[in-house]
Symmetry: C2
């Protein structure tokens, strides 16, 4: 029992390493263990990874700003999407987060402009319309030139609540308001799908 | 089919963000998707996380060095373990990596000095004795003052090959060479253990 009760002497890693581990552990997907692993990996690749990452973080923190028009993150404001003349400014796609904008851009399926809300309405988390980029969305629509607003919000309760709210808000603005289709994900197996998705896919069935 | 064959127009995230994502994706445990998530998280917490992390990376890259005596990472060389007068210098614990040293320090169960090999012998990966910190281990033992060398190497084929090699090397140096006990992990359930561990635990059984 002696070794359990005696307070053992432990070497701390140096404060510099401890601090690095603590900060890395705050990244999404990282915990204390993976942060330690990452810190060691970085210390082994100082010139190839650690210094460049430090520089990239400083560069991005300094140069990346939020587009005042759409909420996208870019080094220019308005962002490169808003200023691209080849894109269709008459269509606005409303997304919750920049990550969703990136996902739609990766798909290459969308050629219009965006509007990043910055969150979803949530009574539970106390997120009200004025906490989101909703006033600026309405202002963009009212400024004219917009014919369609695509609501690309998550098919969660809060996402759909937000979609309903926006649908009501935009109903008498003379724009068509659409939302993404529900259905079977491409490559998805039927027996892994929830009933709601299957129901939606069945309802929206099309002739082949 | 038109939308499939036409090369769609896609906005790239700014080069600063792309570069950050690319570097983050090189961290162990991160892929492109989690790196994008982490980059967005960082961009949202610039002052609280992004700038400090950049600074911590730069600080650690600049100040942390490898202890020339034991291979530990610390801001001082020799490291704080090697120079701690309260620790027992007559016991050397041989570990593969600094991560293993940290794990043993967290346990608080070890009060001696360390020797970090920097890898395991591997014919497959072409790791030979001269690629590891083995010559300096032998030199430390031959310099005198060491009575026991604890081989805390992984219970893998390569870890045990390395342990055998070191055991032979140190056999006629007048030190006792020990290794960690095999057995049931504390909190481990028997039916989740492999046969090798069960066999080792049974062989090493003790009277209660």
């Amino acid at each position: 029992m002696a070794e359990m009760s005696a307070r053992p002497r432990r070497a701390q890693a140096s404060p510099e390493i401890e601090r690095l581990v603590t900060l890395l552990a705050k990244l999404p997907g990282f915990g204390p263990r993976s942060a330690r692993r990452a810190a060691l990996h970085l210390l082994k690749k100082r010139d190839g990874l650690m210094q460049p990452l430090s520089q990239a973080l400083a560069d991005a923190a300094q140069s990346v700003r939020t587009c005042q028009r759409c909420g996208n993150l870019d080094t220019s404001d308005p962002c490169s999407v808003c200023t691209d003349p080849a894109r269709d400014a008459s269509t606005l796609c409303v997304v919750v987060d920049v990550a969703d904008l990136w996902a739609l851009e990766r798909s290459g399926a969308y050629q219009g402009h965006y509007h990043v809300l910055g969150g979803v309405l949530s009574a539970l988390d106390g997120v009200r319309p004025e906490d989101l980029r909703i006033a600026s969305l309405l202002a963009r629509v009212q400024a004219g030139g917009v014919s369609e607003v695509v609501l690309a919000l998550a098919a969660t309760v809060e996402g759909q609540t937000t979609a309903h709210y926006l649908g009501d808000l935009l109903a008498d603005q003379g724009v068509s308001v659409t939302k993404l289709a529900h259905g079977v994900p491409v490559g998805g197996e039927l027996d892994h799908l929830d009933d709601g998705t299957l129901l939606a896919a069945l309802k929206a069935r099309r002739s082949v």
